[in-house]
Assembly symmetry: C3
Homo-oligomer: 341 residues x 3
């Protein structure tokens, strides 16, 4: 008699990881309705709004890895605030213009031999990103096309729903076959010799539960997509194998969208994110926001109350000799790794 | 090497959804020991006690949908208090006399163009139902034979264990084949344009975990039985396919029990609920109650402390124009839906 | 399309329950590096350190069942403190010299007709064991070769990672086939007519989640290994079927280790525990300890703050007539059971 439940268990999960409508949106109506905001291609963040759907896209655009500098943090907050002022928008898709990296986390150059004045300012800007995302009146959907380690994982967890690319056969974008990659996600701070701050650690606890979070925090675990799905660190995993837009679709899109976001807009992860964003946008905003406060207001209040202490602790932790040594070792290892490629 | 765990996983779950002893109780000893309380058929709540087993049944009986009015709320509390005073009783089965609806949640007529005096009184009575169920010395087993949306889901979550009917082939009761139905359960408040109060939302968080609760609260998700089992919103799902009491059993029962509760008493959900109730009744009451306080006293204290603020917030939220419009729209939609049937 | 996830689900779990490297350590380098501490065979606790690996073993050694007396509690704390002062050690394996019992929990003789002076002292020593384990700078791995009921389960939950023996074919140790046994784990206090104290109940909530914890606390559930794995009460289950060290290995080991710990050192549970301990030992200690504080400092502070009240409540609860009767009944039942064997 095990079969019924088992198949229901499988169905439910398989629904989750291969459910998107197969680009019924080939007609491009969604993209046609996208209006490009004032952000230019060189902006740290690109944003587009689709007022008909009530959905906006906010794409991080700081090559090569969307590592979070003071400036990128501020750009995210500014862009989110802009979207927030538009009463027609209910949902935001948080994405990256980089097809293989969502965000690499903190910009390590902010941490090594840091400037006394800039370091607390930098940390404050990261806190602000969390506060603005986690407490937003908007429903925020993370479209995690690429890697999301450390603070990159925090960005995703601060959203309302997480969709991750699951690797697979490699996708065809712009008519060219894109090399397959398997992204990972997790708070891997201890691998760098540092620790996630309490509010970030507790965000992981809320997301995946106490026991798995404790272990993942201690070991700095990075989860591949399917493990992330099983642990609940992401809510959906998309394997893009079956997606190949027609030449017409691509041609039409070239006129509609600037390049950095176009590739992403065509990915199935983004398609699914859009469906999800529409789902949230249809709920009465008043009721949805009240529901969000039920689960988030308490922890946000605590975090804001301990904000200064958190900054002080972080700055003094980072400035320790051992920590500085660990960070430099980590950066050297990264450099060697990228040279050997 | 995946097989052992997998089969153990399946076994455990299959145990859960097809475990009840196959009506070994055909001898009706359980029902013979049921004494009908003073409640009449027309009471909003029917209660029966079986002192030998230490188990009572408390069945909501407000047609057509057990929607929670001020009066039903008060009747639940009164009946529970009555049972509580009987030291021989350790467990209660919370059930419904309606074979397809556990409880439809708040009586919406209490919310539309509400009376200034009655609205806070009504909300207080709902809070009291929660407090009395959640903090009861009795182990309470929810026998969820039918739908349990919104506050109906809250009733179930305030119990100690939840058993749900899983649909299936349809059951034979009173010799007649009962049409199959698949009940759903969940806090679907946002679908009505309102939000579950904090204490109800936090009850969902405790029951199914933070991340699934957040999403279910935002979207107002109603779960079918198997999904509810997988998420942990219910603890057991019973498919009644194999249950068909003999003519003798039915005949005997007709003499033993008044009609509204008889049908339910014969359901496998109720049978399983009775087994579960017996299990709890066998534990040392002192130890069991002390255990219950460990996990519940804190949140109950918080809820009681913020009770007045909760009432004020609820009343002012409900009285907003947009909310009133949403509620009226919802009732209109319901009316159309029932006419078209 | 269910297959990929399903197989990934199975793989992950099967990885967990049959993952240990197949005793690549047959060379005994690990055991050669073990230095026996001052503890003698007759000590209540045996400890060994391997400074090269950064790992220590702390094995409870109070026959017949490692039941926690005032003296065993104090010995655990003393031994842990000793290990703690060695800066080369980052991880500890908490084990038992008894191959079928991890720890039977509280020594019931401490509870029956207790001495007024000793009872609070005893309870304080148990609190101290929890505080020292749960808040330790060391990563502690529980090697649960045998039963772990009640406070034995608490010991395991206070560690950072739990590996349990899963029964199976029976293992070959010292060249002799060891009889198979299937250990169980859980807070079964209510089965004895007592209740786990709040801090222990809340530890279970953090470990397996609110809803499963509530039920397990109420019914006093003891979980067999696979159920414990599925619920998250342990993190890994090892079936020892394939382990049979060579005669040389055994011979070499006889010289290296005193008897009580030798058998355990050869078990696959211990092997896996050692691998896990090494994993934690490789993380930057500063970062690892900071991470541990993120999830544990709050609940530890609360527990310490309510320590006296907890002791008072426990002592008065235990001294109640009903509770004393329940305990005596339980001990009688145990005696009968062991006679009938």
């Amino acid at each position: 008699m095990a079969a019924p439940l088992l198949s229901s268990l499988c169905c439910r999960h398989s629904l989750r990881h291969c459910s998107p409508r197969r680009f019924a949106r080939n007609d491009l109506s969604f993209f046609r309705s996208l209006s490009t905001s004032i952000s230019s291609e060189k902006s740290l963040v690109l944003s587009h709004v689709n007022e008909d759907a009530g959905v906006a896209i906010l794409a991080m655009n700081r090559p090569p890895a969307n590592s979070l500098s003071l400036e990128l943090n501020e750009a995210i907050c500014t862009s989110l605030k802009e979207i927030d002022t538009n009463p027609k928008i209910q949902s935001v898709i948080l994405a990256s213009t980089n097809p293989t990296i969502f965000s690499a986390g903190l910009d390590v150059t902010e941490l090594i031999s840091p400037d006394d004045q800039r370091l607390p300012k930098f940390w404050n800007s990261l806190q602000q990103v969390y506060i603005d995302l986690y407490g937003s009146r908007l429903a925020i959907i993370a479209a995690i096309q690429g890697h999301a380690p450390a603070a990159g994982c925090m960005l995703a967890m601060a959203c309302d729903y997480r969709i991750m690319y699951g690797g697979g056969e490699g996708s065809t974008v712009d008519g060219r076959k894109r090399k397959s990659h398997i992204p990972t996600i997790g708070l891997n701070e201890t691998q760098l010799g540092i620790a996630a701050p309490p509010w970030m650690g507790q965000l992981l606890v809320r997301t995946i539960g106490f026991r798995p979070a404790e272990r993942a925090l201690a070991l700095g675990t990075l989860f591949p997509p399917m493990e992330a799905l099983i642990e609940g660190l992401v809510d959906d995993v998309i394997t893009e194998e079956s997606f190949s837009p027609s030449a017409d679709t691509i041609h039409a899109l070239e006129k509609l969208l600037p390049d950095p976001i176009r590739n992403q807009a065509l990915s199935l992860v983004m398609q699914k994110a859009f469906q999800e964003a529409e789902l949230y946008a249809k709920i009465s905003p008043q009721a949805r926001v009240a529901s969000k406060l039920v689960t988030r207001s308490e922890s946000l209040k605590d975090m804001i109350a301990s904000r200064e202490a958190d900054t002080e602790y972080f700055c003094s932790f980072i400035c320790q000799d051992t920590v500085q040594k660990n960070l430099k070792k980590y950066v050297e290892a990264l450099k060697k790794k990228s040279k050997s490629k």
